[in-house]
Amino acid sequence: MKLLYFAWVKQKAGTGEEEVSLPANIRDVNGLIAWLKTRGEGYEAAFADLGIIRCAVDQAHGDFDTSIAGATEVAFFPPVTGG
């Protein structure tokens, strides 16, 4: 699965893009975040305040309980500020 990070989430995570092989028991975005936070301080810092984290599954806005089964791309980012 491809993971993408944008804006300050990318800066804190220390990477903008990575390929990961997830444990089979991870089924939704919540589970993915919990797993990521075990992977190092950068991820822990990036996901410290979930109130300001948004996600997209296969390039469509998702919630933390959105399923990632079969997804090829999940992205994490702050609330958007374009326009």
Binding site: F6, A56, P78, T81, G83
Partner: protein, 149 residues
């Protein structure tokens, strides 16, 4: 139509292209957003616009499709710039063309409200030697709820 680009845009040329050869358009509303030299009390000397290639285009297309479902529109256009911008530079252009002005005004306003809250762009402002990611505004979320149905 949707475009994400580093280059500037010309409002007049974009509107002319959208209306060329058509005689069924009675009203065209454009919105353009520009970089201001201050954010609250903090001076801004430059701005960097990051986005999510792939999702950006999909999300803008979804927003445009929804506008066409809600209003009788002859044409719409969304152009969003990315990369490094300076105060006074254009950031975004939205155009809505319709037979009547009410639909054109409402659709342009809707496109901007949805773009502000759904399109994956992030602004980083620089000023006084430091860079800061712009926080999302609650007033933008509130503006977008006007269109909930």
């Amino acid at each position: 139509m949707i475009r994400v680009q580093a280059e500037d845009f010309d409002i007049g040329a974009e509107v002319a292209a959208l209306t060329a050869g058509r005689t069924d358009i009675g009203a065209v509303v454009t919105f353009s957003g520009l970089v201001r030299d201050a954010s609250g009390n903090a001076p801004v000397t430059s701005m960097e616009l990051e986005h999510y290639p792939g999702m950006t285009e999909k999300e803008l297309a979804r927003i445009e499709t929804e506008a066409h479902e809600r209003w009788p529109l002859q044409a719409t256009l969304i152009v969003h710039r990315v990369g490094r911008l300076a105060p006074g530079d254009n950031i975004v252009l939205v155009v809505a063309a319709s037979a009547h002005r009410e639909a054109a005004f409402e659709a342009a306003s809707f496109l901007m409200d949805y773009l502000k809250t759904r399109a994956p762009f992030w602004k980083r402002e620089e000023g006084q030697g430091e860079a800061r990611w712009v926080d999302a505004r609650e007033s933008d979320d509130q503006a977008a709820t006007r269109w909930k149905r």
